[in-house]
């Protein structure tokens, strides 16, 4: 199989997952100017949720739905308990609080499930390979196809919601000027809750896809992935839906290509590389690749 094509597919896979998470970050940041570090940990919550439900005998689709519900529940509790009281506090307060929530979640699951690495075993169907193309053919697993289809569908769906529905317009209005939005009769708390529901659901799906693809999971997995996805959102331009999606995909591709193509030993710099990209992009485009200049009244 063509090495480049294979790497590209791997990159797109990872990137799609990053995109889902990055969109969640973006939606919440757009409205609240809040960087939810705990967002990445919701991935982890979803994975454990799905794993437990499958162990209890639920079939895969129900387990996934169940884990999405569990994750959304966590997300809503966090919003209500930790972020809503800080609604009018400065950037710093919300930043450190979300870090604290992240640590809380990680340690909670550490306590209950121990740090042990576990395996998320999906039915064999997902590892079956499909061969595309003739000579110089590309092999792709069903899992990859599932990832592309699911993320593509979700991104399209969320995009539609944001552009066309009443609630979506309300969300964009709140992101631009929450005071004026309130005067239009928009219930800011309801919009925030909706944003968290969407974001948490996306993170949950991302979590299940990620663990399905990369198999191994533990309580600390979410934070790092979340940070990278956040970097992706920032690179694309945080607050911008398209930017987040694009940033996610771009970062995934770059990260995998970097790992595959650069000389031996440099591969371990993978994560550091992500941040180097971030720093470089922000140097030239301080608002991200697609970001609009920040000018917000509230």
């Amino acid at each position: 199989m063509d090495f480049f094509a294979g790497s590209l597919i791997s990159g797109l896979q990872l990137g799609s997952i990053y995109a889902l998470i990055a969109i969640g970050y973006s939606i919440v940041y757009g409205i609240l100017r809040l960087i939810n570090f705990a967002h990445g940990d919701l991935l982890m919550v979803a994975t454990y949720g799905a794993w437990i439900l499958i162990a209890r005998g639920l079939s895969l689709p129900f387990a996934v739905i169940g884990s999405v519900l569990i994750t959304v529940a966590f997300g809503l509790v966090i919003e209500r308990a930790a972020y809503r009281p800080l609604r009018d506090a400065g950037e710093e307060a919300t930043l450190i609080t979300s870090l604290a929530v992240s640590i809380f979640l990680q340690n909670l699951f550490l306590m209950v499930f121990t740090p042990k690495n576990r395996a998320f075993a999906l039915p064999g169907f997902f590892s079956e390979k499909l061969v595309l193309g003739g000579a110089g053919s590309i092999t792709i697993t069903n899992m990859s196809i599932v990832i592309f289809v699911v993320t593509g569908g979700l991104i399209a769906a969320v995009s539609l919601i944001i552009k066309k529905t009443r609630l979506g317009i309300a969300m964009r209005a709140c992101a631009e000027n929450s005071t004026a939005a309130k005067l239009m009769g928009v219930n800011l708390n309801a919009v925030v809750v909706f944003a968290f529901v969407v974001g948490s659901a996306l993170a949950a799906v991302a979590g299940v896809l990620y663990s399905g693809q990369y198999v191994s999971f533990n309580p600390s997995m979410g934070f790092m992935i979340g940070i990278k996805a956040f970097a992706a959102a920032v690179i694309g331009g945080i607050g911008s839906f398209a930017g987040a999606a694009a940033g996610g995909v771009l970062l995934g591709v770059l990260e995998i290509l970097f790992a595959c193509y650069l000389p031996e030993g440099a591969g371990v710099y993978q994560t550091a590389f992500v941040f180097l990209v971030l720093i470089v992009v922000l140097l030239f485009k301080p608002n991200g690749l697609f970001g609009a200049a920040e000018g917000r009244r509230s």
Binding site: L99, L110, G265, P286
Partner: protein
Amino acid sequence: MAKALFANPLFKFLAVVAAPVAALLYIYIGVAEYYQIVVVMFMINVILTASLNITNGFAGIFSMGQAGFMGIGAYAGSLLTMTAELKFSRIPGIPAWLAEAHLPFIPALVAAGLAGAAVAVVFGFPVLRAKGHYLAVMTLGMIIIIKAVLDNNAHLTNGAKGISGMERFSTLPMVFAVMIVSLFVLHRMTKSAFGRSMAAIRSDADAAASLGINATKYRMTAFVVSAFFGAVGGSLWAHLQQTIAPSLFYFKESFSILEMSVLGGMGTLSGAFPGAAIVTFLPQFLANAENGFRVFGFTVPALNGLSNIVMSVIFILVIIRWRGGVMRSSEYIVDAMFGRDTWAGLLRKETYVDFWNILREGLFKNNNPHRLEEKSKQEEKDHEKENR
């Protein structure tokens, strides 16, 4: 009465200087080594927290990367104090120039600080161009990059396995001395023109610029100074724990320092004391619970990570309820330690007279209702006089 008491120089001296020093002396001489180590840890944490408050509180630069500078200082300091033989044996492949490099502890400490400062200069250029959230995330990236470099240069650092065997130079008196000197330097900085410019920039960068204040220069200076002391703290840490590894200077540690900073009060140096105290000593109490205990006949199993959970909950509650931390914006402790008010006050007779009067009032007030009546009658008369 309390207000007058706290303002009295003798009280300040006793509470902030004499009592703690006496306590430290007692601990040094009379207490088991395990507890001494915790106290030394506390003092190191004070240095680390104070260094973070310079950027986060004074300069308005929200950095989450202090652990990175700690790590730089730990490695630089250790590599300089370890003997050549030790280095050859612990770090296979170490180049000769690094193995031969050797300095006594204190110069090595300063060198470690400078190493941290140098790294800050390098990162400062891109990182400080950003603001707010973006800056914070860039500092996270900074820790990641530093760890990656430490992990992957095994010929210099022995990679992820880390290094052990440095001497325990961080004794109680030594760390105490470094802490005092560091706080003094930082204190002078905040009180100087530099400190005032910093405050101006923090409140309104544009207005400050129109006054001719070069924000970039000041921010960089704050960042570098903070890194210097962070690295010093790291080196002290290394020479206490006697073992270092890149994973020990990562997110968890950065967050710990951040916790101390926020809990104690981010905008002041004094906040370092209550903040470091809570984060250093509280988990010690919780550590017992982590191993399981019996309550009402039930056995609570070992709860891994309980102290972290409790700390993070406390942290969230504090932010929601007491955003300014313990000290809010009060520099009471550090001012009392170094302020001219305290030391000059000790030379004046009135200080001692006032102190005695305040004590008398406080001690005898409750035992003498007669005096109370007299006092309130006197107060009424004074009040009437005022109103006329």
